[in-house]
């Protein structure tokens, strides 16, 4: 009797809340089967929801004022029960979202996922890509530590290079003539209100278009498709077929959900093992600092370091603009009927080059061989080298005159200039002296003429003479 009644209530609810039409048109619909990695979209959707949820709860305690921001992040991390965990989930979801976004983008390029009739889905996706990338920078500015303020200053320096309105853009973002009390509320508003609202709308629309136009189906991937009419016919046949199609719920949902679950597991493990993003000292413009961007920007940072100065402005402004235009134009440039990665060697080559470039530039950034920095400590004496008392004095002078700010000795110290324990040609005492007093024009080394006494110069050269062949022995 009670069972009958419950069933009636359920029926009533399904009818009055109009659940059935949704169920019928979304859950019970037939779709073409996709490969396991088609779950990357579901993974992105899950990460976005994790970010919304954890972000909302972080904002309960976060204080977007210049004085309060850093202490509040510290408080969340160190004092609030599970605060570190929620912050960690937010941080790692953000990082993985960038990774998955690039994966998703590359997959669509490989398969030709932007081809008719899915140009609209692709274009909304391009907007999503840029919105997520932008907010991934703003998020870590909110931590308001040294990494945050210099991340913000990088963005401001990029904006300053925009012709004509550069300075105005900087003032709008800063909220005033310098980074001050108006700055953080603006960043906060954009990160927690403007961008999430935009993302919600765009993601909703993107998913609506995925429902309407489907995914790149099995038949499309194997044979050329000339028109959107042909695609629609093939997709429908795929969806309805027994072996190439399936019902969205639970079959497709389970498969995509599995990948999303795996990605979430990675977020969970990274949070538990590494914790939330590291907090540097509070943002300030006085202390010496060694700022490093978040890891998902490393490759870009490496590019910035390797650029010749002439190209700096063109690259900084041109890269995002050209990337945007390229992505927008892609469906209209690539008119070939071939879809699926097996039929698209150019796309495969292009994506492979991009992936290799991103990974190798990131690894180069991790080593950063291009940064010089003052060091008080003289370099250690290389193994097996015995210094004369004069050379030992030279070793200390080597640090005192900042030689070790650029030159490593047997791998120790800054890697900016040549390792003087591994000189290519063995130099004589006189040659070393000449080089130090009058370095070649093309070398970024200051002349020490007039700075060193003859005695000091000789001691430094004594040291160099002792170590210069260490590596060759």
């Amino acid at each position: 009797m009670a069972g009958e009644r419950l069933k009636e209530i359920a029926e009533w609810a399904l009818d009055r809340f109009a659940v059935k039409p949704i169920e019928k048109s979304l859950m019970d619909r037939r779709v073409a089967k996709g490969a396991w990695y088609y779950g990357d979209g579901a993974a992105l959707f899950l990460l976005f929801n994790v970010l919304l949820f954890t972000g909302a709860f972080l904002s309960l305690s976060y204080n977007p004022s210049m004085e309060g921001a850093y202490p509040s992040v510290r408080y969340i991390t160190d004092n609030q029960t599970l605060g570190w965990f929620v912050r960690g989930l937010h941080y790692w979801s953000a990082g993985l979202m960038v990774v998955m976004l690039v994966f998703h983008l590359f997959r669509q390029i490989l398969a030709g996922g932007y081809k008719s009739p899915r140009e609209g889905t692709w274009l909304i996706g391009v907007l999503l890509f840029f919105a997520v990338i932008a907010t991934s920078l703003l998020g870590y500015v909110l931590r308001w530590d040294e990494r945050a303020i210099y991340g913000l200053r990088v963005a401001l320096n990029l904006l300053y290079r925009v012709p004509l309105i550069g300075e105005s853009l900087v003032l709008v973002v800063q909220g005033g003539p310098h980074i001050g009390s108006q700055t953080l509320p603006r960043i906060y508003a954009v990160h927690v209100i403007f961008v999430p609202l935009l993302l919600l709308a765009l993601i909703g629309y993107h998913m609506y278009l995925v429902v309407m136009h489907g995914i790149t189906g099995p038949t499309e991937r194997t044979r050329p498709v000339a028109s959107s009419e042909e695609q629609r016919r093939l997709y429908k046949a795929d969806a309805l077929s027994e072996e190439r199609g399936e019902t969205f719920f639970p079959y497709t949902a389970a498969k995509s959900g599995a990948m999303a679950g795996v990605v979430f597991l990675v977020v969970l493990v990274l949070t538990l093992v590494l914790g939330p993003g590291r907090l540097y000292p509070e943002a300030n413009l006085v202390e010496p600092s060694f700022p490093v961007e978040e890891w998902w920007w490393s490759w870009y940072s490496a590019l910035a370091a390797l650029l010749p100065p002439r190209l700096a402005t063109a690259f900084y402004l041109g890269f995002p603009v050209v990337l945007f235009l390229f992505l927008v134009a892609l469906p209209f440039l690539d008119r070939s009927p071939r879809r699926g990665l097996r039929n698209r060697p150019v796309a495969v080559a292009f994506v492979s080059i991009c992936v290799i470039a991103i990974l190798s530039l990131s690894s180069l950034r991790a080593r950063s061989p291009w940064t010089a920095f003052p060091r008080a400590e003289p370099p250690p004496v290389p193994d097996g080298v015995v210094l004369s008392p004069q050379a030992e004095q030279g070793r200390h002078l080597f640090a005192q005159f900042g030689c070790n700010s650029c030159h490593p000795i047997d791998g120790h110290g800054a890697q900016f200039a040549r390792d003087l324990a591994a000189t290519r040609n063995v130099l004589s005492h006189a040659e070393f002296r000449r080089y130090i007093l009058d370095p070649p024009e093309a070398i970024a080394m200051p002349s020490y003429a007039g700075r060193l006494t003859d005695e000091e110069l000789n001691r430094i050269v004594d040291f160099l003479m002792h170590v210069q062949i260490t590596r060759h022995r």
Binding site: E67, F290, A312, P374, A444
Partner: protein, 158 residues
Amino acid sequence: MERRTLLTTLVHGGSALVGAVIGLSALITGIYPALRGRRGERWRPLGRLEQFLVGRTQAAVIEHADEGEPRPLSRQGVYVWRPTAEEVVVFSRSCTDLGCPVIWDAGSRCFFCPCHGGIFARDGKRMAGPPDRELYRYASRVREGVLEVDVYSVPPMA
């Protein structure tokens, strides 16, 4: 005019009008910092001139405290170089590439940028790395023995 056409025009026009009133006013007030520009007291003291030794490059701090800015960004580091008794040069700490804080190395007498390998000479000239111009120099003056800088003489983010 047909009733249908008139109503369509009214709906479109009305929506556009409401959108314009809200959108434009919000946008204008949002970009107010750019409309306002850089106003307020531009000269800030750095300290008495004699504390900056001839031939040396020293760190100094601009205090923005008079604007009621809260800590910790009320203080901004700069470098002061005094090549001769008559001449004072005040450099921004902001690397001209992407704004990382350059650090003075008294040993080699160079400014190093910690980010991408920018190196500047003692006089601010670029020596290495991606920067495409020399270090920003503040306009400065000496009033009653106090070295002052014009904070608006360098770009707003410098």
